[in-house]
Symmetry: C2
Subunit: 452 residues, 2 copies
């Protein structure tokens, strides 16, 4: 079957109309008043998949239900588990939407609706991809759909679901389309995610707030001390100073650095897009390398003393900060958390005590660039876009990857269909009509290529 074949066979009008029906359901998982709509969206997907010949059901969880469907009629062929989610972000602030969030509207070639790209549009593209293939005969691989309803609230019940259905969910590869390609014309395969260690630093000075006149010059100041500690956590080359922090890191390969350096990226444009005059970071690495392949240390919040209007001449008793470190393959979140926990007290200035309180962590992942799954995805994308895919990583951390790796023990293949400009989580979220249609074709070709 050639590219032309499937593209010609896709009924785009019909595909759009079905997605619009799904987008009209306000399935906001964070909103307790919308439990009925959550069930409605799940049933919509179940019914659709059932109609395609999948064995499909809606499974209750302690939270919102999971849609599970399977089509296992390709003996001897790989099994592909497609993960997606049918819940969406809250639509607030409503007044910023040009058209209502749950009335999908096409403007300038884009479908505007909450969930259009994240993740109803991308998940439904896989449903339509399977349909496209089924219209021609059987599926070339065994296919399982796992469409959850709690991704936007942190997937609190997914891990339990995976454990409970471990045997049933068994797959050779897990396909996720829930993100952005590098640029409009560029098909992208994401093969790595960063991990995370999130902690708080607490600094204690005197046993009470002190008057800065009566005590200033002799009493330790925990805010000044906290600033000193934070400043010491990085050197003047932007490197984290925690002893052992970089130990064991999988350094970027020449292949990766070469690949990324050839991408159409402009530091000036990137800086301008966020309104800053420079992009500081670890010396010796490009911006993309720092975003995707190097660890970070960022203070996410800080507090202490008087924050109100006007002035108060107080030396606070305590101060604190939230600090997150993005981690890369080779770094273990628990070990890194221990390292900073041990290190911070040693760099606290005299007079104060500083301690680290761990919050949570997430493991970094990197999948084999040259795995047959990545190669199959690359071939599929080339059939759609006419060019090789870019192999990128993402700077973010995707906690479900660890759950898939630990429980289902299968590699994850990220085939993103969206773009950053889709503005997921923001008002006026959208998904390019062309990207939706390309996504459907990508899904169909990917199943074909995985069947080779």
């Amino acid at each position: 079957m050639t590219t032309a074949d499937l593209s010609a066979l896709l009924n785009r009008e019909q595909a759009d109309a079905e997605l619009f029906d799904l987008l009209r359901i306000p399935s906001v998982s964070a909103d307790p008043t919308r439990r009925a709509e959550m069930g409605q969206a799940a049933e919509f997907l179940r019914a659709k998949l059932s109609g395609l010949g999948f064995s499909a059901r809606v499974d209750a969880t302690a939270g919102h239900p999971v849609v599970y469907a399977e089509h296992l009629k390709a003996p001897g062929k790989p099994t592909v588990l497609i993960y997606g989610h049918y819940d969406v972000q809250p639509e607030a602030p409503l007044e910023e939407w040009v058209t209502p969030p749950f009335e999908p509207t096409v403007r300038n070639g884009r479908i505007y609706a909450r969930g259009s790209t994240d993740d109803k549009g991308q998940a439904y593209a896989h449903v339509k991809g399977a349909e496209l293939l089924l219209a021609q005969g059987e599926l070339p691989v065994n296919v399982k759909f796992l469409l959850e309803g709690e991704e936007e609230i942190g997937s609190p019940n997914l891990e339990a679901y995976l454990r409970e259905h471990e045997a049933e969910l068994k797959a050779d590869v897990i396909v996720i389309s829930d993100g952005s390609r590098f640029a409009p014309e560029i098909p992208t395969i994401t093969y790595g995610v960063r991990g995370l260690s999130y902690v708080e630093i607490h600094v204690q000075g005197a046993n009470r707030d002190l008057h800065s006149g009566s005590y200033g010059g002799a009493a330790p100041n925990p805010i000044n001390a906290l600033a000193e500690i934070i400043a010491k956590l990085k050197d003047d080359q932007g490197r984290v100073t925690i002893p052992g922090f970089y130990d064991g890191i999988d350094e970027l390969t020449e292949e990766e650095r070469g690949m990324w350096s050839s991408l159409p990226h402009s530091d000036d444009e990137f800086a301008a897009s966020i309104g800053v005059p420079a992009l500081p970071g670890e010396a010796g690495y490009s911006t993309l390398e720092r975003l995707w392949g190097r660890p970070t240390l960022d203070v996410n919040g800080i507090w202490g003393g008087y924050q109100g209007e006007g002035s108060k001449t107080v030396i606070a008793a305590k101060a604190g900060a939230k600090v997150s470190m993005r981690l890369v393959p080779g770094q273990d979140p628990e070990r890194i958390t221990q390292l900073i926990t041990d290190y911070v007290p040693t760099i606290a200035p005299a007079g104060v005590t500083a301690k680290v309180v761990p919050h949570h962590g997430g493991r970094p992942f990197k999948f084999d660039l040259n795995s047959p799954y990545n190669q199959a995805a690359n071939r599929a994308l080339k059939r759609v876009y006419g060019r090789e895919a870019v192999f990128a990583r993402t700077g973010g951390s995707i906690p479900i990857v660890a759950a898939f790796a630990d429980i289902l023990r299968a590699p994850v293949l990220f085939v993103d269909m969206g773009l950053n400009e889709d503005a997921p989580h923001s008002p006026n979220e959208s998904f390019a009509v062309q990207d939706y249609h390309n996504g459907i074709l990508t899904s169909a070709y990917l199943l074909q290529e995985l069947g080779q």
Copy 2:
């Protein structure tokens, strides 16, 4: 007249009873429901001074009234303006008072009541001191009383009052008793106050909050940057690094350093009293030198990013801090504010912009240790305590000193009667009965000595 004379002539029971009547009036200037009580306290003092032969009146202001009284029957003798205040701090939290704040009670030789030491007790001691002298004849100097009702809310109308009554208030020296002696047995003359420059530092990163996964490693982090800026404002010797900060400072004299080093001060006890393991500060100076005679830089408040429960992986768009610098004679608050305003942007790390927003300032003051006024006070205190006074400075800033210096152009003589343990501004404020009585004698002897 000898020490024994006046001490024997003081009717202590009567003095206590009168002060208790004044303390029973809940003259809380911050409480708008107590305007009547404010007027009542002012009238109490006016009537008392009038009864002593002073020409006394209650002057309305835009806020609470001023009690002004004068007794000018010593031609050719100096004129002494005694400043005090009859307003008190709010009594909250009421439940922490052992006995009610406006029912003065003596326990273990201490008068417990709101305002007992701050400042009704100390101000009224001067009234009683004048009475004691008047019982023997005329006052040895010309005496003016200026008793305001807004000290605890920042004296918002005092400057206007001083300007309006500049000629009338003219004096050779201004006596203030509104603070603490160094230690119970030690008479203390405070001859210097620190000044203040209070600013905010604002740091701006990107034009919006960013996701720390997607942007961490490339986007500038204004909280990290603020911490770096703050850390750079002092060196590892505890010295402020702002260029020119120490220029022109009146260095501590050998006389002052010698005087203070002989005071009964223990760093260990001081550290223990505020619960800290060390007293960091500028290298090369003792704790008392750092508190009284050296400038400081303390962050009084800091904020930025996410301060709530749990975690949020955000790179904030902005961060800020409130910073105060206590200043010593030779430092001009406006110049210091300009120096930090110029300096901070130059030490901001790449990618962020930092600016300083001035708040307010206050001038440092130091009065001549060997002035005739200080010598007279020392002689008076020696007659009460049987030992020389300690010449101390205070680390705090007393804004009214500048108003007195600028408008009345007279030196200020601080003759403190209280102790730190009096706990002004706290529940269970108290004033030792002995300190009250000594204060009355001090006041009387001071007027005598100033008349020599």
